[in-house]
């Protein structure tokens, strides 16, 4: 059974005069430990698909199934619990809280999940992404690459089953971007987490197991990356 499954998922947005389909009739299966890239031009629907996969938004039709449970039928309370326990997010602009220190950012999902020994667990994740020496610094004192590594540590802090990354290297130079991609690759291979990454950079696809090409809200093609072929 796949860890995450999208069955004929459609998402429409209503404007004042018309209805626009951001994602249209998409089906996709993702296994644990798999690293997938959603590739396409801006506005092709990859970020929306990511939000639907992470239970951050509801589909207009179709089902999103995570560990056998249909998330599109869950209440808001159940979705919140799901995000808190099963899903981790990484954003293009890092989305760290600037009033908190590095380690406090990483502690955040643990505190929300009411875990104990949050500080030790957060430090463990920071060590894993190789940035524990900056634990007490404020976020704005770090470089872009370091900030994205903090974001990865935060996304993995509560040991999620699925990690969703929206343009994780969009704001980084090539070298730093590669470090982040290697980290995501390790997350999938070493921790068994299903990693889904939305990107418009074809170079990024070298690190993934499968590439899903999207166009106008639909899957155009699914292929193995060049490196894997």
């Amino acid at each position: 059974m796949p860890l995450l499954e999208l069955r004929n998922v459609t998402k429409r947005y209503q404007t004042e005069s018309s209805s626009v389909a951001a994602v249209q009739n998409v089906s996709l299966e993702i296994q644990g430990g798999e690293f997938i890239a959603l590739v396409g031009r801006s506005g092709c629907g990859k970020s929306t698909l990511l939000h639907l996969a992470g239970a951050m938004d509801f589909p207009t039709s179709g089902d999103v199934v995570l560990e056998g449970k249909v998330t599109s039928r869950m209440s808001d309370k159940e979705l919140t619990k799901l995000r808190r326990e099963k899903v981790g997010f990484i954003f293009q602009s890092f989305q760290l809280l600037h009033t908190l220190s590095v380690v406090e950012n990483v502690e955040l999902p643990l505190l929300l999940a009411r875990r104990r020994n949050t500080r030790a667990a957060a430090m463990e994740r920071l060590r894993w992404v190789g940035i524990d020496q900056y634990a007490e610094r404020l976020v704005h004192q770090l470089s872009g690459g370091q900030q994205q590594r903090v974001a990865i540590a935060r996304a993995l802090a509560h040991a999620p089953k699925v990690l969703l990354a929206d343009e994780p290297t969009g704001n980084l130079d090539t070298g730093t971007g590669e470090i982040v991609l290697e980290l995501l690759q390790r997350t999938a291979s070493d921790l068994g987490v299903a990693v889904v990454m939305a990107t418009h950079s074809l170079e990024s696809t070298a690190f993934v197991n499968r590439v899903v090409y999207m166009r106008d809200g639909q899957i155009e093609q699914i292929s193995m990356p060049m490196a894997a072929q």
Partner: protein, 1005 residues
């Protein structure tokens, strides 16, 4: 739980530090709102504390109280004593006294200290109850707060007479008993004597025998006593007074809630802005698994934080504000309702809890909507700003219909009658109006923005256009801010218009009503239920004065009508004068009413009385007068704004038949058309010599009445100030010259003082006219009207004795180069310590941020600004020492010498100019100014060299100022007298003036 607390501290409290200013503003808004409510509540409670409570505790516990209009006959006591039951009767006299004729009205209570339980109270206070002590030396027992000691002799003004008493004991204040700490107690015999009520009693307290219930004994006494004797349950009149005050306090409370509404708007705005600014953060934590409930609770907890700290601050601030407010509220209560001694301002547990409930409640209420809005943010929306504003714009079209509905509902509610005497629906209408305005505002903002778009783009360029678009983009917040501002301005304007229009009405009414030339009343302050009397011989003697055309004697009795306090007046209806003054409701024939009034048992009633008791023309009022119930037919209803209690006026002679006490409360004096006002005034002063009676001129009475009005409404002005600050305007008072008395100066200045006057700039010694003004009195009078005083004492130091601390003016500035003879540039500014924080030098220098603590910040800022040369200042001590060493008597002798030289010079020069001394001697220091008679010597326009001054210098080598003072249209010659001047100098000037007068150039041929 711990995790939640950590999250709250990190996510909600920590960001507040980023925005210290906004956080402080929000907390202070809640604090101010709570403070105003707390202060008004504490002050209202304290001001309503009646001295009747002290009577209850002083006289011991009793059950019933007997009283009658005009007092009870003492014989009644003998009749009561013969009743075959074990009643206990305690007679009482109640009046007011003023220590040395000044200050607040103190309850003066006469009790039977020899034969009655009242003495127990005196005994409890460790004092002897020996009869012989009570009989000798006018003994009194005084409340602890009066600061008197056993053995002190004290002068008390009671009605129009001063009496000397000896303090025999001090009453210790007991917890929970209001007003007793200022009461003065005397034996009843002495009290009857000094209040002029021989053979009379004001009340009799009754303690009933235990065998039957209160109602039984009340009925029994009712059968035994004449109907005119009121039998009330003890304390019920205090309750009635409190009930009467309840409406007043309720109105104050509602006004104070305006401050809370403004606070609520600020909370709303702060939390709403916080939600908008942290939208992204909310989206992140929602994505990380924070529930909607937790988001709502987080923002509510932030509001709780504002509420808790704001309420605590508000409690402290409210306690401080209450002390001032109690005086303001007390003044209003005294002027309009009832005499009361303010109780101490004290917190109660209920008060503290209420303050927190209000502060926290209003904070949570205001934050609820933005907190719920925050919880609605979906994680994906965090990255899509502006969507909520779009929703608000779409909704705004629908809200206009709701706004119209609320406006209509508000109009409907505002026209509904009161519920239990309270305008509940009117208040609700005001709330609906606020809500309707808030709903309508988004559309108004859009409309205004649309209309101004093109204009702004054409004339002002792109930056203002962007600002305008940004306003429209954040429509929700813009609308709320506009609504908050609109509410504050509307409230301020409406209170201002209401009070202003009422003031205008009072002013018109006074112009109509006050027609006499002089008004007399006993000294000491009167109140709505306190009417001291003066001897009946005074009006008789004044009536016989040659310049007096007529007098109008007026006597007022405080009474209870249908259980509510009212005033009964006996007026001498003087057809010639009164008929034009009294105005009746439309349709009533004034002349016919006033002609008929003296012919029998007829009455006219004031409009407030008629409204309160639903009295109509033709109805009969039954008034209990001195033992008998009397019927008076109502002839008319007249306009009167002097008291809220309401007046019943009957003819004085009719009233004297039933209450044969000829003493009067007020007297109006009308002069003959050609009478000299000053001369009659002097004759009146002779008549009232030995009596403590005040005489007011017509103009002075009007200004005093308006001052009382303004004092009463100052509390509403204070509330206005919470909503908005007002600008300043300069009003100039012109002082008369020549003048006959210092009072003319005080009158001229007080005439220009209004409710908005905040600061008065007055001279100590005027420069062109050289008059020493009655500065102590001016400062006192202005301060009593709430006006700060800045005294320009340029000429005063060295001319007149000066004690700045004793004078107590907020600001005083004086020169040392004039009469202290120090170099030019040496002067001083004295700012009272409590005003120093608001005054800074024009040049900010290094003292402004000095870390020194051994000197006041005021001194640090002023003492050394830039590179000012201090040489002139440093000579001042030596100048003071040197000038003081010139005559054997030091400075007092020097000042006396200069003054006597100036007075002699003035008299000599007045003779030479052929004019009278233009000011009384008491207003002369070392300067003397004289008006130059028209035609004495050719004159020149103002601000050019005067030909007389030129001639004096060129022909006689005499230098002195001669000038035309435009404000007075007078030409003035002024001389100064310093120690080096002698009588010979002025003699030379007098002769020179004589010579110039003799050979002045004649008219050109």
């Amino acid at each position: 739980m711990t995790q939640l607390l950590v999250l709250f501290v990190r996510l909600m409290l920590r960001p507040l530090r980023r925005d210290v200013l906004r956080t402080a503003l929000t907390i202070s808004a809640v604090g101010l709102g709570v403070a105003v409510v707390v202060a008004i509540d504490l002050a209202g409670r304290a001001a309503a504390g009646s001295f009747h409570s002290s009577l209850e505790s002083l006289a011991g516990k009793s059950d019933l109280q007997l009283s009658a209009t005009g007092g009870l006959s003492q014989n009644l006591l003998g009749r009561l004593a013969r009743l075959p039951y074990a009643f206990d009767f305690s007679p009482r006299i109640t009046d007011f006294a003023f220590i040395d004729g000044k200050g607040e009205a103190l309850p003066f209570i006469g009790l039977d200290l020899i034969g009655h339980p009242a003495k127990q109270k005196i005994q409890e206070n460790g004092l002897s109850n020996q009869a012989k002590e009570i009989d000798s030396g006018n003994p009194i027992w005084v409340g602890a707060r009066l600061g008197l000691h056993v053995g002190d002799h004290v002068q008390l003004l009671i009605n129009d007479r001063m009496h000397t008493f000896t303090v025999r004991g001090v009453l210790q204040h007991n917890q929970g008993e209001i007003g007793e700490d200022t009461a003065i107690v005397a034996d009843i015999g002495l009290a009857q004597q000094v209040t002029g009520r021989a053979g009379k009693l004001d009340d009799i307290d009754v303690t009933i025998p235990p065998e039957h219930a209160l109602a039984y004994w009340k009925n029994y006494l009712r059968e035994q006593l004449p109907l005119s004797v009121s039998i009330d349950t003890e304390g019920s009149r205090t309750d009635e007074n409190r009930k009467m005050l309840a409406a007043f306090r309720w109105n104050l409370h509602v006004l104070s809630y305006i401050a809370l509404i403004v606070g609520a708007f600020l909370i709303y705005n702060t939390v709403a802005v916080s939600v908008v600014r942290r939208r992204n953060e909310i989206g992140i934590v929602r994505a990380l698994g924070m529930s909607r409930k937790a988001i709502t609770l987080g923002f509510l907890a932030e509001a709780l934080f504002y509420g808790c700290i704001g309420s605590a601050l508000g409690l402290l601030l409210g306690r401080v504000m209450a002390v001032s407010a109690v005086q303001l509220v007390g003044n209003t209560v005294q002027a309009l309702y009832v005499s009361s001694q303010p109780a101490p301002v004290e917190f109660s547990i209920t008060g503290i809890v209420t303050a927190f409930v209000i502060g926290i409640g209003i904070s949570l209420f205001a934050a609820l909507e933005p907190a719920v809005e925050a919880a609605r943010i979906a994680p994906v929306e965090a990255m899509a700003r502006g969507r909520d504003e779009y929703v608000a714009r779409v909704r705004s079209r629908r809200t206009i219909y709701l706004a119209v509905l609320l406006f209509v509902l508000a109009a409907f509610c505002s026209r509904m009658p009161a519920i239990n005497g309270q305008p509940i629906l009117a208040y609700f209408a005001a709330l609906l109006l606020v809500a309707a305005t808030a709903l309508a505002i988004p559309n108004v903002v859009i409309l205004a923005a649309n209309l101004s778009d093109r204009l702004v783009a054409s004339f002002l360029g792109v930056e203002p256009l962007l600002a305008l678009r940004s306003l429209r983009a954040s429509l929700g917040r813009t609308s709320i801010m506009t609504a908050a501002l609109a509410t504050a301005i509307a409230m301020t304007a409406s209170v201002g218009i209401m009070v202003g229009s009422f003031r205008e009405t009072v002013w018109l009414w006074m112009n109509n009503q006050l027609r006499a030339d002089f008004y007399l009343r006993p000294a000491g302050s009167a109140a709505a239920d306190r009417h001291p009397t003066m001897d009946a011989s005074i009006p008789d003697a004044i009536e016989r004065l040659p310049g007096v055309d007529a007098v109008d004697r007026f006597r007022v009795y405080p009474i209870f009508y249908q259980g509510l306090p009212a005033s009964l007046g006996g007026d001498e209806i003087n057809q010639r004068h009164v008929s034009t003054a009294t105005r009746f409701l439309p349709g009533e024939d004034r002349d016919a009413i006033l002609r008929k009034l003296p012919s029998g048992n007829y009455a006219i009633v004031s409009e407030p009385f008629a409204n309160k008791h639903d009295v109509h023309v033709g109805e009969v009022l039954r008034l209990p007068l001195a033992g008998v119930d009397r019927a008076f037919q109502v002839l008319g209803i007249y306009y009167d704004y002097s008291t809220e209690r309401g007046f019943i006026i009957v003819d004085r002679n009719t009233l004297l038949k039933y209450l044969p006490d000829r003493a009067i409360s007020n007297l109006a004096v009308y002069l003959k058309p050609n009478a000299n006002e000053d001369s009659v005034r002097r004759q009146i002063d002779n008549v009232i010599a030995g009596h403590a009676v005040l005489v007011f001129t017509n103009r002075r009475l009007r200004s005093d009445a308006i001052a009382i009005f303004d004092r009463s409404f100052r509390i509403t002005y204070a509330l206005e100030a919470v909503a908005a600050r007002t600008g300043a305007r300069v009003v100039v008072a012109t002082l008369p010259f020549p003048l006959t008395a210092p009072e003319q100066v005080v009158d001229a200045i007080l005439d220009r003082v209004g409710p908005r006057t905040r600061l008065a700039l007055v001279d100590h010694v005027t420069s062109p006219t050289g008059l020493v003004l009655p500065i102590e009195r001016m400062v006192r009078e202005l301060q009593s009207r709430g006006v700060d005083v800045l005294v320009d004492g340029a000429h005063a130091p060295g001319m007149v004795p000066l004690d700045l601390n004793a004078l107590g003016a907020e600001y005083y500035t004086g020169n040392c180069h004039k009469w202290v003879c120090a170099p030019k540039g040496s002067a001083f500014l004295h700012v009272r310590r409590d005003r120093q924080k608001g005054v800074h030098p024009l040049v900010v220098s290094h003292g402004a941020n000095s870390p020194r603590t051994d000197r006041s910040p005021f001194r640090l800022e002023f003492d050394w600004t830039g590179t000012a040369d201090p040489t002139a200042f440093l000579t001042v001590p030596e100048a003071i020492r040197y000038m003081g060493s010139l005559l054997p008597g030091g400075w007092p002798a020097l000042m006396a010498h200069n003054r006597s030289t100036a007075l002699a010079a003035r008299d000599r020069l007045a003779a030479a100019l052929g004019v009278a001394a233009p000011a009384p001697d008491s207003m002369i220091g070392s300067l003397a100014a004289l008006p130059v008679p028209a035609g004495f010597f050719p004159a020149a326009p103002p601000r050019t060299r005067d030909p007389l001054q030129a001639a004096l210098f060129e022909r006689h080598r005499l230098e002195l100022p001669v000038f035309t003072w435009a404000a007075l249209s007078r030409r003035i010659l002024r001389v100064s007298a310093q120690v080096y001047n002698a009588a010979a100098d002025y003699e030379r000037l007098a002769q020179a003036l004589g010579a110039l007068r003799a050979d002045r150039p004649g008219p050109e041929a």
